[in-house]
Assembly symmetry: C2
């Protein structure tokens, strides 16, 4: 029983990771359950066995992705507020993050999908976002600063990904880095 539970949980984690990456890359609404499952090497039946519905899968993806993101923020030891912010922002507002949404933050990739989801899904996201905001506020000192910080970096990534040229992408990221660190 213990062994089976562990196996199920592990498979669930694999599915979540692969489906999350596929959703961030292609869009959640735009990607079928078959494709989401195939990304993890299983079929749609496995998705419904684990999550019940496509919406249920999105809820789980949100929790999984946001927790992973928070773990990354925290992993960086804070020598000072300035260096912490500068380092994290350099990682977030980078060309690598523009080019690889599948391994990046959920928010710029899927927030629009979440906005169109039903209330329970938005509640799941809200809980995760508030937790992120709290942890950033602890570092930056003020509550409002954290919201401004989050809006700034998410907005910059959303806009940078929507344009074609490297030059404009770089302009947007550079300006935004200045806004949150300088």
């Amino acid at each position: 029983m213990r062994y089976q539970d562990g196996y199920k949980d592990q498979k669930r984690r694999e599915l979540l990771k692969a489906a999350g990456a596929a959703a961030k890359k292609k869009g959640f609404a735009a990607t079928g359950v078959d494709a989401l499952a195939e990304a993890a090497g299983v079929t749609s039946g496995a998705v419904y066995a684990h999550f019940g519905s496509k919406a249920g899968l999105l809820d789980a993806v949100i929790v999984n992705e946001m927790e992973r993101s928070r773990a990354r923020w925290s992993r960086n030891p804070e020598r000072s507020v300035e260096t912490w912010a500068a380092e994290e922002v350099a990682r977030y507002l980078s060309r690598a993050h523009i080019d690889h949404p599948e391994s990046g933050c959920l928010m710029p990739a899927l927030a629009a999908d979440v906005a169109r989801a039903a209330a329970p899904t938005r509640q799941v996201f809200e809980d995760q976002l508030k937790q992120a905001q709290r942890e950033i506020a602890e570092r930056l000192g003020e509550k409002d600063k954290a919201w401004q910080f989050l809006s700034q970096i998410v907005g910059a990534m959303v806009l940078a990904r929507a344009v074609v040229s490297d030059d404009v992408q770089d302009e947007i990221l550079a300006a935004s880095r200045d806004a949150v660190t300088g």
Copy 2:
């Protein structure tokens, strides 16, 4: 000929407006061509006659929506930079804008769809975005300030729409208003 051209152009505008509203509300990738056309009281045949493909429709929607947005920014006479920014931001970062994406800005609603579109579509968006940035930079003085301004308000709207509770939505918008005006 002149009359027919005028009629065609008018129908095209009607279609663009209705399809744009439907896309902003439900998502572009998530909405079928039939539904996009039905929003304008026509069928999918009309869409293909005017725009050739679903992608062609998105290109036209981007131009139409971004031009309308710029026209609104400009309509407000600038008595001073501060009052202009404060007024426009109050309109943008408002509950009405959260609740009615169909009549709001294209960017928070569709930038993620644009980011996943082919290069020509992203080029169309880039041209429009640069124009918007230029006009805002003229008012704010600095180029970078305009990018920061745009990233801030788009990011705030994206996040505010993705959460459920009015309280958190208000927190996000209030903080963001402070960032760009205060």
